[in-house]
Symmetry: C2
Subunit: 385 residues, 2 copies
């Protein structure tokens, strides 16, 4: 059956469309930086197929595999038969900053800028509670060797729904916060973001947060879905399309996010009056519930670094009960006198003492994933009129 | 009271002594690489004071602070009143590879080479079970904001026992595996390693695995012990001794390990016959129970990389029931024809897609901690005789 793109939802006009079919788009990075919780219509959209048309009254989520009790849950049951939790979490596409990587040497994939991530408030039952209802407590001694597979309604590669898996230990971690989201920012999920139910796996690449969720399977092995085994993997820099087939099996799928950052203001190539006051602004994030501990900014090519101001404390207050464990960090660096023209560098650190690699040449990979090399933004000198 | 070094234990003769009083020593890195489980007498020794003389029959470990029930536990009780668990875990000093950092620009601290880490099998009760016996389950809603402080018998800075703290969430994580070790490699703990009881916090810097454990305290805040607040912190490169006092408070203590590696064979400056067969060998490790996914080796200054062979599967088999979650990884790279003279680079990656920073100048810090820059070993050409 040919893919049918006649029933796509309406989208905000200001998004940068990186691919039309399937639809892939990101907001302007300066707009992204204006809201700690991304407005729903500005949330980046990453689709692998046409957006499914689903009647939520007939939609069932099945829970099968190595579990004592198979379940078929309606959306109503997901909402009413399980405690509902609310978490704030940033999702980021593994291809964020891919275009930058492609400029050094061509990669294949959706050409994302640096805004393929967004932060939202998600509400729904915990995956943990669903799996407990299916009797997984009886399998507890095996948890460390099991995987939970998700499959969506959207038919993609190999004529199967988009799919992925995560380790059972993540699914069952009481502090892991994997949810089956029915709501996003206080409203029913929009169609582009998985209506009526999507998985949200906080701290993992967005690819694991399967939308339009249809099947949950407990397996002894990782999912063998295309998107777990033939995509979303980092190869060494020498692997090209001629030899890649030797590398899929021996490369692990990307799961937890690495430490990442971007400069949202100024934009690359922006002109600023030399000597003027200016505030550099950006985001940073990291995986696994770790915390951004420091963002360094350099105005002289890494010769010296200054430490940016972080906002998580502020945002913890502003967003009330939502803690920022799974969210990005916003940062800013006031400069009294801009030395334009110049190149601004930035790099973030997390609470595992990990930081970003300097040179994208050394982390270049064929699929253009997980580009977390130092951020470099060129600033031109604006002539005084 | 002046420190008394008259009752230090006997140590292996082949250790490199980096400081005599207090005693700090590491094994030859080539010896380290010979045993996946480090022989006890080759385990690196990191002391902050004279080794305490303790009669285990009189030794008590107190559990106090924000807990419903205070405990005073004898070593006998620690062994007989709680389930005993056995874990394999690598401990690494945050100062590992400090000397290399000091060669670029002087730092202060024990001058460690690249062998300030070792892997052992630890046995004792779980910290989690001790804390449950003290009633911490009643505090569960607060766990995310609590800390567990450890203090040893060894009197160090400020006339207090060496101390540290970890987050309550790590202490209580059923898969966090923090233990109060009574045994190391199947025998009673040696005096140098904390006889009769030490904490082992797997996945964290060695500094948190407090030896000669005397006090456990549940607190609302991190420990204010000198070694939590005035040591074991990473500063930005510009921070020197003139301004460091402004930086202690705003820098978080190092806790989880970052991704790290070393080349154990050949040694730096070793001569190898050009064109000969050679096997490069090393270790890698990372924090938080994460897994080393890849080790890259370059024989041409990073122009191209090859992927080393990893051994965790093998070691999982060899060490039987001990899984390698908290252990280092051993790797090797066979070279058919050594291009000596050359410089060998290596870098490791973990399953959060984090890797090691290229240039130590950019991560240089005043205390010389967490040097995980690319490993660089110079190989000379051995002339054929
Ligand atoms: Mo993605
Ligand atoms: Mo240490």
């Amino acid at each position: 059956m040919a893919a049918n793109y006649n029933q796509e939802p309406k989208r905000a006009a200001n998004l940068t469309v990186n691919e039309i079919r399937p639809f892939n788009a990101e907001p302007p990075v300066s707009v992204l930086r204006e809201h700690f919780v991304t407005p729903t219509d500005q949330f980046y959209i990453r689709n692998h197929a046409p957006v499914p048309v689903i009647d939520s009254r007939n939609h069932l989520v099945s829970v099968t595999g190595l579990i004592p009790l198979e379940l078929n849950l309606t959306v109503n049951q997901l909402e009413n038969d399980f405690p509902q939790v609310t978490i704030m979490a940033t999702l980021m596409c593994a291809g964020n900053r891919r275009t930058e990587m492609s400029m050094f040497k061509k990669v294949r994939g959706v050409p994302w800028g640096n805004a393929a991530l967004s932060n939202a408030i998600w509400r729904g039952p915990k995956l943990r509670d669903i799996l407990l209802a299916a009797g997984v407590d009886k399998l507890e001694p095996m948890w460390d060797s099991l995987h939970v597979e998700f499959e969506g309604v959207d038919i993609c590669k190999e004529n199967k729904g988009y799919g992925s898996s995560i380790p059972m230990s993540k699914a069952m971690d009481p502090r892991g916060d994997t949810v089956l989201a029915l709501q996003m920012n206080g409203h029913v999920l929009p169609r582009d973001h998985g209506y009526p139910v999507r998985v949200v796996v906080p701290g993992y690449i967005g690819a694991r947060s399967v939308k339009w969720l249809k099947h949950i399977r407990v397996l002894r092995h990782e999912s063998n879905n295309y998107f777990q085994v033939k995509d979303y993997k980092i190869f060494p820099p020498h692997v090209d399309w001629d030899i890649v087939d030797n590398w899929w099996d021996k490369s692990p799928p990307i799961q937890e996010l690495s430490v990442q950052a971007a400069i949202c203001q100024p934009g690359d190539g922006e002109a600023i009056t030399p000597g003027s006051k200016y505030t550099i602004k950006g985001y940073a994030l990291t995986g696994g519930g770790r915390r951004i501990t420091r963002v360094d900014v350099s105005l002289n090519g890494g010769k010296t670094w200054e430490v940016a101001r972080l906002f998580s404390d502020l945002h913890n207050q502003k967003t009330g009960s939502h803690n920022t464990k799974w969210s990005w960090e916003f940062w800013e660096m006031p400069v009294m006198s801009m030395p334009s023209p110049c190149t601004i560098f930035c790099r973030a650190w997390d609470d595992s003492s990990n930081t970003m690699p300097e040179d994208l040449r050394h982390i270049w990979n064929l699929r253009g994933v997980m580009n977390n090399s130092w951020v470099k933004v060129k600033v031109l000198a604006k002539s005084k009129v």
